[in-house]
Point group: C2
Chain length 423, copies 2
């Protein structure tokens, strides 16, 4: 998400990449395969990529550890080229015990697939055969409705209070919320689809799909070096993200050990928004108008207050013309931590494109995913501010919304959510 | 599409990769960039990739020449990770002259984007900034309805006669056919979307989107070496494709110089079918049942008559149990050229996945694209046979269909289709 390098990040071994036995060329993947997230805390693997000249040839061979870090994978993992988001609702009659069994099945399968193994048993669909793990990550979360359905309301985090309404919302409840949330990312589309199919099949009679969305990001290697992502407006997006090297990174993104409920310690809260971009309207603006709306140059993401992409934004800078260099309603001003009592979140989105709408405009935009220790100190205050004063908001429609409690990674021998479901 | 190497294929220079000036690291892309299709006839670039250890690091830097070969790009170009198919209808009042102007605009833009340049003028959306051309290809075709609308029925190829009905068809006319067809492929999803947006904007008042579909294939580098593609049934798909090295390859795939109409000499006919896979039903079969339906092993694509993937299929082989090793209704038997008077086509598909259907099953399958010199000697006889006798057909639904005349590449200084529109 950023091009900055965390010096703590180093490739580490430990996760077997066993699908390579299916490749017939074990050495080729084995020799270049990287394992990301072994013991480096919140390090992002982009740093690894930048550091390792062979990394791009290992696109398929890179494995992310399912329980290699305290948090689940897919939060600090570098953006992947392909993503699936899915929400499941428990079937009528599925209780806490059934939910626990599902999370156990899901965790076991996620760990296997992320290591490049096929599903257990002989039912694997074969869709990912030949390919390496391709940085596959699977992340599981719990929605507010999960707790009532499983008799666990006493363990429901206060942070799962419903998000407030925002004036720019046009939310479709059928594509919002849900009991269980699954985020899948991989650098190969068939590897990602394989994981989605496997998890959906394993939901069996316990849970059924409520909604499902597909997204994408740049393919690793499409740029000559790791760059901050661009969105479908063409804008550099993510420059101001909290960095793992920031002293308050974990405090902002992950739930602390003293916070309630205890099963969320080391976890995070995901706010998921399907944000359609009104690209036809946006593209009618001139380049200068677009840059004024954002507050950054399109070409390189440099703030209009001067410098290069990572130069701190100077909100008080006056231009030679005697006006604010960053307009009063510029997106970077309204979203800045300085404008929101320091509120910040880790944004890790996918773009989406689902064909076109009756008027010919693309049905496209951002699957916005924001990670924070507390939505009331992350998404909510920032979105309140954006909803009122952001010049960008007239080019956006929030069409779906979800808020999910994402517990820490599974303990060895256990599964994601066990301390909630069995504690 | 195959792992076989055409010894005639070599990387050649000639197409400037000019977006690199936007990267700020020109050397990195420039040093590893490959240019595909420079002068190697029908060679596929997979051979180049296999031959060049640095090729995977140039995922972004690989440029395909817009007019480097006689045929348009996107036919013999290796499968790309991301694809868009779109059909446009001419707007009421748009005549031959307007269509010619549109094809001229489209050709100029396709050539720029494929070389890594932004759109001409200052209206570029910026979505592809930072990235290299990423093997972008743009391919243009004409549907049967185009000729009536432009007063060119006397130049309409007989090969554009409507495809016959097949019993397994459940075609949606709104997602079928169309005056103009555009195929976009790239190894980066933002590069592909950028091209789609650019072409749609340039259609302006001349043509509007009729239908549009998104597809994907494996990402280069996800496998340790180039492999035949897999589809979403998990099956190796494309082994029996005609190979550029076959002596009759051009004759099968491209229109000969003596054929009518003359503006199609060196071109090809594309049959496009959206084929939904009934994956829930398919996945209920055992591995052995699936392999019997196909006639090949799932793991490696080897025919059930023995050998490895590229061993010729022995349709008459009797198994030790005294029955045909390849079942009478096996897909490879019914589709084989030996079963169809030698009929063959070059299949170059994308997989698709558009979420899920009301019953929870994925809306997913194959954007089947078949290239041939004459549909009556390619798709039509094979599909007639499959429609009657293929054991696979009960797991497939053909939901949309198109047939397009794809003329040869533009001459230097001209545009795709000029000999039709101006001749």
């Amino acid at each position: 998400m950023t091009e900055e390098r965390d010096p703590a990040a180093t490739p580490t071994g430990g996760v077997p990449v066993s699908r390579r036995r299916l490749l017939g060329t074990a050495g080729a993947v084995g020799a270049t395969g990287l394992v990301v997230g072994g013991a480096a805390g919140a390090a992002t693997a982009e740093a690894v990529r930048e550091d390792a000249p062979t990394a791009l040839t290992s696109l398929g061979g890179t494995a992310v550890g399912f329980r290699a870090e305290r948090q689940q994978p897919g939060i600090t993992t570098p953006l992947q080229a392909r993503g699936h988001l899915a929400a499941f609702d428990l079937a009528p009659g599925a209780d806490r015990k059934a939910a626990a069994a599902l999370l156990r099945r899901w965790s076991a399968t996620a760990e296997r697939l992320m290591a490049g193994e096929p599903e257990a048993g002989d039912g694997d669909t074969g869709i990912a055969l030949d390919a390496g793990p391709s940085s596959l990550t699977v992340t599981f979360g719990f929605g507010r409705s999960f707790f009532g359905r499983t008799g666990l309301t006493d363990r429901m985090p206060e942070a799962l209070a419903p998000l407030p309404d925002f004036s720019a919302d046009a939310l479709d409840p059928r594509r919002s919320n849900g009991d269980l949330w699954v985020q899948i990312g991989a650098d190969d589309a068939l590897v990602a689809f394989h994981a989605l199919r496997a998890l959906q099949r394993e939901a069996g009679d316990t849970a059924r799909l409520r909604w499902q969305m597909n997204g994408f990001n740049r393919t690793p290697g499409a740029t000559a070096r790791p760059m901050t992502a661009r969105n479908l407006m063409g804008q550099v997006d993510g420059t101001n993200n909290p960095k793992p090297a920031d002293p308050d990174f974990r405090q902002r993104v992950f739930v602390g050990d003293g916070a309630a409920p205890s099963w969320m310690a080391g976890g995070s809260y995901a706010v998921v928004r399907r944000i359609r971009m009104l690209l036809d309207s946006w593209d009618h603006l001139s380049l200068a108008q677009q840059e004024k709306v954002i507050g950054r140059r399109k070409k390189d993401g440099a703030p209009l207050s001067g410098g290069t992409e990572h130069t701190p934004v100077r909100l008080d800078k006056i231009s030679p013309e005697g006006v604010l260099a960053i307009a009063g309603d510029a997106h970077v001003r309204v979203a800045a931590p300085e404008s929101n009592q320091g509120a910040a979140m880790l944004r890790r989105p996918f773009s989406y494109h689902d064909g076109f709408r009756p008027d010919g405009a693309p049905d496209a935009g951002l699957l916005f995913i924001a990670w924070q220790a507390d939505p009331m100190k992350g998404f909510v205050p920032v979105q309140r501010k954006l909803d009122r004063g952001d010049g960008l908001s007239r080019f956006l429609r929030h069409e779906a919304s979800g808020l999910f409690a994402v517990p820490p990674a599974a303990e060895r021998g256990s599964y994601v959510g066990a301390p909630l479901l069995e504690g």
